[in-house]
């Protein structure tokens, strides 16, 4: 009996000690608190100084440059195939061929559309949002840096949304980095996206400096002119001709940029077919060279891969015996006027079978392998030639100096390509046709310009349906890519584009 009582006492004391012990433990939060990580920095730390905040913005550019997706290569390649610019062998990768024959479905193209466009564009937006939010709550960053970086981030956000809404139509408008607040966003109407793009760019214009002094004179960070140039394009797409004219005019008249002359004969001496294996030597006078005078904004090549740009690596064949990964359509080749220097300088041909059957591929970026670092080519986002074409198209639609000024602007671009001046009396449809022809040739295989242009001109279905492998497949639903399936699955508030359900 006594022992039982003793046992009871013992149990009671054990319990009270345990409870005391547990109380002690729960106050030991310190023992399970770790210092901030070393291999990463917390967001608060990042936005505590000018230098680290700048690093966060550099991260945005660097990611855009090194990730061969939306902002590097895939827009050119996949939109080029959806349009009438690029083609590749059938029987290869079927998923990619769905772009070529315009038969995308939400089902099997989810991963490709997701990886090539959606994911990387939205990650860039997320990173830009993070910079904007970080700067807003920061106290340690100087106001000059805060303005410039906010402007750059707003530019990047606008740039990404421009492509997203042109490729997908209505997309979620995500301006927040807290996933709790964004997971259930609905699709925003395109008008709302454009509203955001405009407000970002207008704001960015006022916040950013107007030269490249922050990047040692290299056009590798967005400045006021980049925002203005993109604004010009946005106004053009919104058919706000006067604003487009004014913005393009401002860029052209800034005298910060100049058109780079095209060589009459390529550096290797063989028009359209450089010698086996060796890329042509580059100089600053090449349009797509790093620090080109024509560039309004380029992404610096940061990878130490043995080539400069992803496009140079993918489009330029290994040697004149090799097949290219992808080549220009016969429609595009047929659209070049004779002796166009762009046909001579920007197209490469190979004869892999040795049987006189040539394949032609884009040769705007020419570094295929191994010129080391720093690379001689950077990836161009915005260049001056576009501003001439924007101004021309706005003028052709009645803005500024009207058709005469439009023809003069077109002739500036044509003159560089060693083409004759247009008839100065062109107006109306024939002038518009000349504008469209110049867009097509000047910006072939570049950032999907052709695909976006065909769509905004309302000519996509009509023109593409005349291409045999697209015939009967292309319809207005195919002009918008499907929202990736995984997104509509995880966010039930998203609206799938018509024809993909």
């Amino acid at each position: 009996m006594q022992s039982k009582r003793r046992f009871g006492r013992f149990v009671r004391s054990i319990f009270s000690y345990s409870i005391l012990g547990l109380l002690f433990f729960s106050s030991c939060n310190k023992l399970v608190t770790v210092p901030n990580p070393i291999s990463s920095v917390t967001t608060t730390q990042v936005f505590s100084s000018d230098a680290t905040a700048t690093s966060a913005m550099m991260g945005v550019y660097s990611y855009m440059s090194q990730n061969p997706a939306f902002s590097n290569f895939q827009t050119t390649y996949l939109c080029g195939k959806s349009a009438d610019e690029l083609t590749d062998e059938t029987g290869g990768n079927e998923i990619y061929d769905d772009f070529l024959v315009n038969k995308l479905t939400a089902l099997n193209d989810g991963p490709t559309v997701l990886g090539a466009f959606w994911q990387s564009a939205y990650f860039d937006i997320y990173s830009a949002n993070a910079v904007i939010a970080g700067l807003q709550s920061s106290t340690g960053v100087s106001s000059a840096t805060r303005n410039q970086l906010t402007g750059e981030a707003e530019f990047v956000r606008a740039f990404c949304y421009f492509y997203l809404t042109n490729i997908f139509g209505d997309v979620p408008l995500d301006l927040n980095i807290d996933f709790n607040q964004t997971v259930l966003l609905p699709s925003a109407p395109q008008a709302k996206i454009y509203q955001q793009i405009l407000s970002d760019l207008q704001n960015a214009q006022t916040l950013m400096i107007s030269d490249f002094s922050l990047s040692n004179g290299w056009p590798i960070r967005a400045n006021k002119w980049a925002a203005t140039a993109l604004l010009a394009r946005v106004y053009l797409y919104r058919q706000n001709w006067d604003s487009a004219y004014l913005a393009a005019n401002a860029v052209i008249n800034s005298r910060q940029f100049s058109l780079v002359p095209l060589p009459l004969i390529p550096a290797d001496g063989v028009p359209g077919a450089p010698s086996n294996g060796g890329p042509a030597p580059l100089s600053d006078s090449d349009v797509f060279a790093a620090n080109s005078a024509e560039a309004i904004l380029q992404l610096q090549t940061v990878n130490t891969w043995p080539y400069a740009t992803q496009e140079g690596n993918f489009f330029v064949p290994y040697d004149s015996n090799s097949y290219a990964n992808c080549w220009l359509t016969s429609q595009l080749l047929g659209a070049f006027e004779p002796n166009d220097l762009r046909r001579i300088d920007w197209v490469y041909s190979t004869d892999p079978g040795g049987n006189g059957i040539y394949y032609y591929c884009p040769y705007k970026y020419q570094i295929m392998a191994g010129n080391g670092w720093p690379a001689a080519e950077n990836y161009t986002l915005l260049r001056l030639a576009e501003q001439y074409l924007i101004r021309a198209e706005a003028e052709a639609n009645g803005a500024g100096g009207g058709s005469g000024a439009a023809i003069s602007d077109l002739d500036t671009i044509r003159g560089r390509a060693n083409l004759a001046a247009l008839s100065p009396t062109m107006t109306g449809d024939s002038l518009m046709a000349a504008v469209q022809q110049e867009w097509r040739i000047e910006f072939f295989a570049e950032w999907g310009h052709r695909w976006l242009d065909l769509k905004r001109w309302g000519k996509a279905v009509g023109i593409l349906d005349s291409i045999p492998y697209k015939k009967g497949r292309i319809n207005s639903n195919q002009l918008l890519y499907p929202i990736p399936l995984i997104e509509t699955q995880t966010d039930p508030n998203l609206t799938q584009n018509p024809g993909y359900n």
Binding site: S18, C28, L31, V32, V34, P37, S40, S55, S127, L185
Partner: protein, 1152 residues
């Protein structure tokens, strides 16, 4: 175990009160005689019990009646007669029979009591009966007529004594119990005890974990000296548990043990590999044939959905946890942890932490399985716990052991591939079938570029070398009652069968323990240091290369790029020649220091305060050079250099308070403690490129450009724990564990979690009523069970914290760039694992045969998963707890038996097998999760280890293409698991069951032991595993001879089992084949993992040489595999990776 021996008695003998065998103090002459008699009786007794056991005599009670007839017989003869006719044994000192009168009696149907009453009347003798033993002693005046129970009420005496081991080391914490009253005490640090109120003639029972219990009959108040002997009975041997030791007999939990003996027999460098097939439920897989390669260990099935989290259990070496932090990207469930090699994985796919541990220093490895065993490790015990205990010095004569062995490894399982003639015939047929001509650019094997008279068996070139093994181990150990030590050093080197590469380890270990003069203070330290060096290269080439391919080196000894690429010298030649890695050496040098210090102090009797400090540090430097000489000169290559700098540091502090006491009729032990630990993992990766000369390649400063990334994790962990266990008369045992854990991997307010378990066991065979019912062959029955909750915090460190990093992003405009790396979520918390287990332990024939059967159900809920978020939020997922539930239900059987034991020959067997059923029970919104699609898409109700494949239906007789089942009857075959239109179905990849069988034969000085392990599983067939992705006949790809004649040959050919030969892939048929069950095959196997023969030289020879012992041995590993699997090895199914070799070593062991 010691069935025939006359040494220490088994637990049962003693607990039954049969044998009060107190080892006498030989200094006291008056006891010497008793000793002799007792020994004599003990021998007789054991023999008798054996006889009884063997003839399966069922137990009879005191009520048994016999007939007896003696004439003028001495008492001794009468007793013998009674012993012969009953199951009773007499116990007496022969001296008391002097002067007794012979008896004459004739009785029928008489009870023992009736017989003895008559026989002992007027003899001045008395008797008592306890169980089946009849004690006969001199009659005492006054108490002569008293029954034994009455003695208790009589005068009591105070007893003092000391409990020592055989080498006179005090035993602290031994239980001393008065048998009659079940009261008792605990010995103090000096082994001393004191008991008042011991009835005269009372029996004291001494017990201590790992030692055979002893009984001692108290005669008077003189001091008692008890020498405890190490238990020989399997059930009573010490087993290491969490923070202490126990025995298989008394534990309520489920612990598997592998002894030093079993580990030493296996010539493996990594001690984890010695566990394969040894413990039920423990699945050990080598990931490649490199000695340093990571080992994938999984206990009782996969519990975690997230494929990034490994199944690794918690490893504890001498009390110090060996933790390696999760480093994003490095670990994966399928390939296991990359171990120490975190910066980059290298040719072996990582480096096992246990490669740095010398198996020769290991005393035992315990595998803690159920909730009761692991809950005290709280959150870290979810995947089980593996405790490694190193060898310690023992008091006694100083011993010097020297072990030398040397041996070879080879691979002689080859796959029968086509020779050049057959190969070329196949290729030509393929061109004919495809209607194309050989390309001058690619088809070097047939277009005249390569010499078609050459023949190379690439398997022999790649794996046909002979590896050399050298192993030297020396140790010095000894000590006295106060101080013991062990110093050991070892060197082990294994060269690869790939004829390039070697793994080596040098290690030093130092253990010592010291007790203060009053024995109350104890200090112990164990330290091991090891240095390993792995010189490897990535396995070049591939076994499917064309047999007429040119030599690897040209006449100058340079890589033969030109010879392989032919006159065109273009990139196709680069693709064909795959031996660049031959000149790309990889070296990994690792230093490991593991150090533990334990200080204990006895506060009061039975109460011990101790603190353990542990520290380990690993430094691993990796260097992998890619010189210009290893690259195709056509590309004007530049060299590059990969450097990895890995550092892993753990420290922990564990204060503990233990208290052991007797309460009521039971033993109570209580443990309270806390643990605080910190782990830092730092991996720096430097990639230097643009080397213009191979002379500079080893200097990172000479690189044209460098890229550096670093991953640094700090992990802190704090827990408080308590264990209370109560053992009522060795019959009812209850074990309670509680733990509160905090982990730095969780956000503020989510750091702490509570865990605990309850375990109970009932040693039913101790119940007298059951004993009566049980056949006597059944010696031990223990049902046991446990239930508990443990947790898991396997998420990347800092997942709750918003962070930027430079690791994934390159500097821009020469400014270092930062990028957000995760969607932080501060709200996730502990994953919970609820473990339920029930089992029964049975002993037969005096525990000669032990059988354990265990059923368990582990349910892992609150799964920490990558919870899907729309990608437009920045990232596709956040770490979150999902209510998903994973269940593992299984059975484990373990049998160990001594089949034959005679003085010359012993044959023992042990066997284990386990079956595990893994199931995803629930996963809300699975269809929206990242786990809904892809090859490994999950399905509710199916196991986690699935692959989703088409069902292969053979060769289409009309087209000669592979055909598949159109599961959804939509008219087309479509593989895209998780998406509509998909035709795939899940195939289970986890083994159905696995197990091991070990046998040990001892004949005189010769010992032979065998161990097998086996698995019932499916795996990728060698054809697919070799990386063959084209139809038979495609460029530069050899095929097995077996397909000849079985390929499709003409439309309507219904007997074909391989597609028609084709020079180019056409259509989806082949792509689909590699996504179908057509590439899976039975990969079940039985492997003779170990055969070991040793011969110990007879003592007579040794004396002359001054040796204690000396043995010669052969150890082998992986001698043969019985399997239907084709290819090199059913376990390392990847045909391209290095298969496990067979190893034979021979050596000699000296003990001085």
């Amino acid at each position: 175990m010691n069935f025939f021996s006359n040494g220490a008695p088994s637990y049962r003998e003693a607990a039954g009160g049969v044998l009060p065998l107190a080892a006498p103090d030989l200094t006291k002459t008056k006891d010497r005689k008793t000793c002799k008699t007792l020994l004599f009786k003990a021998m007789k007794l054991t023999g008798l019990i054996l006889l009884v056991a063997c003839i399966h005599v069922s137990a009879r009670t005191n009520a048994q009646r016999i007939a007896i007839s003696v004439k003028n017989a001495p008492l001794q003869k009468l007793f013998a007669e009674i012993e012969r006719k009953t199951s009773f044994t007499f116990f007496y000192d022969v001296t008391i029979l002097k002067g007794t009168k012979p008896v004459t009696m004739e009785m029928r149907d008489a009870s023992i009591e009736e017989i003895l009453k008559i026989a002992l009347s007027n003899q001045a003798l008395e008797y008592t009966i306890t169980d089946k033993t009849i004690f006969v002693k001199k009659e005492r005046k006054g108490v002569a007529e008293a029954a034994p129970a009455d003695t208790m009420r009589g005068a009591t005496i105070k007893v003092k004594g000391v409990v020592l081991t055989e080498v006179n080391v005090p035993v602290q914490g031994a239980n001393v119990t008065i048998k009659q009253t079940e009261k008792g005490t605990i010995t103090n640090a000096r082994g001393e005890f004191e008991l008042s109120a011991v009835p005269a003639g009372g029996v004291l029972v001494f017990s201590y974990v790992g030692y055979a219990p002893q009984n001692f009959t108290v005669k008077d108040g003189s001091a008692i000296r008890i020498i405890m002997k190490v238990a020989q009975d399997e059930l009573d041997k010490a087993v290491v548990q969490a923070y202490g030791t126990t025995t298989q007999r008394l534990t309520t939990s489920d612990i598997g043990k592998v002894t030093a003996e079993e580990i030493e027999r296996q010539p493996v460098m990594n001690p984890l590999l010695a566990l394969e097939g040894k413990v039920a439920g423990l699945d050990v897989n080598m990931t490649s044939g490199y000695a340093s390669a990571p080992v994938k260990v999984e206990l009782r099935g996969r519990a975690t959905i997230d494929p990034r989290f490994t199944s690794d259990p918690l490893y504890i070496i001498d009390g110090v946890p060996l933790t390696i932090s999760f480093v994003s990207g490095a670990p994966s469930y399928t390939t296991g942890s990359a171990g120490f090699a975190l910066a980059f994985s290298g040719p072996a796919g990582g480096q096992s932490p246990f490669f740095s541990i010398n198996p020769a220093d290991i005393e035992s490895i315990e595998v803690l399985k159920d909730a009761d065993a692991t809950a005290i490790y709280g959150s870290r015990g979810a995947n089980g716990v593996i405790i490694v205990t190193t060898k310690k010095g023992k008091a006694g004569k100083t011993k010097f052991d020297l072990h030398l062995d040397e041996g070879i490894s080879r691979q002689d399982r080859y796959w029968n591939m086509m020779n050049t003639t057959q190969y070329l015939a196949m290729r030509r047929q393929a061109f004919y079938n495809s209607g194309i001509a050989p390309s001058p650019l690619t088809d070097y094997d047939v277009n005249g570029t390569w010499d078609t008279t050459r023949y190379t068996n690439w398997q022999k070139v790649l794996y046909g070398g002979t590896g050399r093994n050298v192993n030297v181990q020396g140790s010095l150990s000894g000590g006295d009652a106060r101080t013991t030590f062990r110093v050991a050093a070892g060197f082990n080197r294994v060269t690869s069968i790939a004829s390039f590469g070697a793994d080596q380890r040098a290690s030093l270990s130092l253990n010592f323990t010291h007790h203060s003069l009053d024995q109350r203070l104890t200090i112990g330290t164990s330290n091991s240091f090891s240095y390993t060096e792995s010189d490897l290269i990535g396995l070049p080439g591939n076994v499917l290369m064309a047999p007429d391919a040119p030599a690897i080196y040209d006449s100058l000894g340079n890589l033969n790029w030109a010879g392989w690429a032919g006159k065109y010298q273009n990139r196709y030649g680069e693709n064909a020649f795959q031996f660049g890695s031959l000149k790309q050496p990889y070296t990994a040098k690792t230093n490991l220091l593991n150090s533990g210090l334990n200080i204990g102090y006895e506060l009061i009797r039975g109460m011990q305060l101790s603190v353990g400090f542990g520290y380990n540090i690993t430094q691993l430097n990796q260097v992998n050079a890619i010189p210009i000489a290893s690259l195709n000169p056509l590309n004007n290559p530049a060299g590059s250099l990969l450097l990895g700098n890995n550092k892993n540091v753990n420290w922990n502090i564990e204060p503990q308070l233990t208290y052991n006491t007797q309460i009521c009729r039971g033993k109570l032990s209580a443990l309270f403690g806390a643990t605080a630990s910190r782990n830092t993992t730092d991996a720096i990766f430097i990639y230097g490129s643009g080397y213009l000369s191979d002379l500079l390649i080893n200097n990172i400063a000479s690189a044209g450009s460098t890229r550096t990334s670093e991953v640094y994790n700090e992990y802190r962990y704090f827990g408080g724990f308590a264990r209370i266990s109560y053992n009522w008369e060795n019959k009812y045992i209850l074990d309670l564990n509680a733990r509160r854990d905090g982990s730095s991997r969780f956000g503020p307010n989510k750091q702490f979690g509570n865990f605990g378990s309850i375990g109970a066991a009932w040693i039913a065979s101790e119940e007298p009523w059951l004993k009566k019912i049980l056949p006597s062959a059944v010696s031990f029955v223990k049902p046991h069970g446990s239930y508990g909750i443990t947790g898991s915090d396997v998420v990347p460190d800092y997942s709750y914290l918003s962070q930027y990093s430079s690791n994934q992003v390159l500097p821009y405009d020469s400014i270092s760039a930062l990028l957000s790396i995760i969607n932080p979520n501060p709200n996730f918390h502990w994953q919970s694992n609820k473990k339920l287990e029930a089992g029964i332990d049975l002993g037969f024939l005096k525990d000669r045969i032990n059988v354990n059967v265990v059923w368990y159900r582990d349910r892992s809920g609150d799964q920490l998963v990558q919870f899907p978020t729309p990608v437009f939020t920045g990232f596709g997922f956040v770490i979150e707890n999902s209510p998903a539930l994973v269940e593992n239900i299984g059975w484990e059987f373990t049998v160990s038996a001594i089949l034959v034991k005679t003085s010359k020959f012993t044959w023992s067997v042990n066997f284990n097998t386990s079956i595990n059923q893994n199931k995803l029970v629930a996963y809300p919104n699975l269809s929206q999760s990242p786990y809904a699609t892809g090859p490994g898409a999950l399905h509710i109700g199916k196991q986690l280890n699935v692959t989703n494949v088409l069902h292969y239906t053979g060769i289409d007789p009309q087209t000669g293409q592979y055909s598949f089942l159109d599961k959804n009857h939509d008219g087309q075959i479509y593989w895209n698991p998780g998406y509509p239109g998909d035709d795939s179905y899940p195939v289970n990849l986890a083994p159905k069951f696995f197990g091991g069988l070990g046998m040990n034969f001892n004949y005189g000085h010769l010992n032979v032991s065998l161990s097998f392990n086996g698995k019932d599983q499916i795996g990728k067939n060698a054809y697919a595993a070799a990386g063959n992705t084209g139809p038979p006949g495609v460029v530069n790809t050899n095929e097995p001879v077996a397909i000849l004649g079985k390929q499709w040959q003409y439309p309507g050919d219904a007997t074909a089992s391989y597609a028609k030969f084709a020079a180019a892939a056409s259509g989806q048929s082949l792509n689909f084949l590699f996504r179908s069950d057509g590439i899976y095959t039975d990969a079940s196997f039985i492997r003779l993992s170990n055969l070991s023969i040793s011969y110990s030289l007879p003592a007579t020879y040794l004396k002359k040489a001054g040796l204690q012992a000396c043995s010669l041995f052969f150890h082998t590993n992986n001698l043969f595999v019985i399997t239907k699997y084709q290819g090199l090895d059913p376990e390392t199914q990847n045909f391209g990776s290095l298969p496990p070799p067979k190893t034979i070593v021979g050596g000699i062991n000296f003990n001085f």
